[in-house]
Amino acid sequence: MADTITLLVTRYRPDTEAEPTVAEYEVPLRKDWAVLDGLNHVKDQLDGTLSYRWSCRMGICGSCGMTVNGEPRLSCATFLTEFAPGPVRVEPLANFPIVRDLVVDIDDFLRKLPTVKPWIVRHVDWVEDGEYLQTPDEQSAYQQYSMCINCMLCYSACPVYGVDPDFLGPAAIALAQRYNLDSRDHGAADRLDVLVHPEGVWGCTFVGECTRACPKGVDPAGAIQRYKLTAAMRSVRALLLPWGAR
């Protein structure tokens, strides 16, 4: 095994450049080094001006998502040896505007996320009654979706979001389902309007790339199709029984 590997890193310096360029860096190839370790080596030893986001380096904070050799990946959980002998292309997440180098503007996602109320909504709330109890079965109904770390790899993988940036997107819908399916939650009706909007679930054409890209095993594509069925049956019921208000 060679002892170094080449990183082809996208650089974008908005104050001096009109569009991104590619810089080449030679970094040590070590069995226990992830792409993020390579980038840290670049920043510490080769070029201190390189900008990128990271925090926990253990696949839980969701901030180090990048496009590695064309695939949206967590750079902390993607090992350099996977690409030996290299080179490895490291680019910013696709479908998001680039602020600088590998840092993308995530405001769009942060604006959309709260519109689905991704928290437990209670219409009756008696704190003095103690905790809201839940059986293991009730928990397993939503557990998969609760693994989402908001890393936005699914948005980067989704061609519908790329073509139509108004699309609510995979993670937001999966998180809406995470709370809709929670036995303690009363908020499904509150989330309905945003989800059944044409830019909500109906914009999805079930490409399925979001599910493949997810580093935490969440299945946003499945969540969206399930919600389409739920919403459609609800519409049929509303049509047949107009007096049965939701």
């Binding site: 073509v163 139509d164 108004d166 059944v196 044409p198 109906w202 054409t205 459609a232 519409s235 049929v236």
Partner: protein, 118 residues
Amino acid sequence: MRRRARPIEPFLWLLFSAGGVLAALFLPVVVLLFGVVYPLGGIGPPTYPGLHALAAHALTRVVIFIVCVLSLIHWAHRFRFTVLHGLQIGRLGRLVSVFCYGGALVGSLAALVVLVRI
């Protein structure tokens, strides 16, 4: 992104899905028999009186009508999104919808005429 929800989308999706199921179940065998097997001459095609009797049966005609209408809506709905996203022409959304669902409507009427006249 807070336009009022178009209540038609869920119904279009249900019809698209129903059409997807019927197209998946019925259409391959039809094309296999009349489009490939009979033209290639492996087996002789059904004689006219026999096929006419089968096609003229009320139940056959109802089933074929439902399969045709829903399959056409399936085409319309899927083709609409394929064109919108594949060619990136979201701004022409209305025009594409008129072409697709309008085409399905015309096709359904044609199916009705053909089936009534058997």
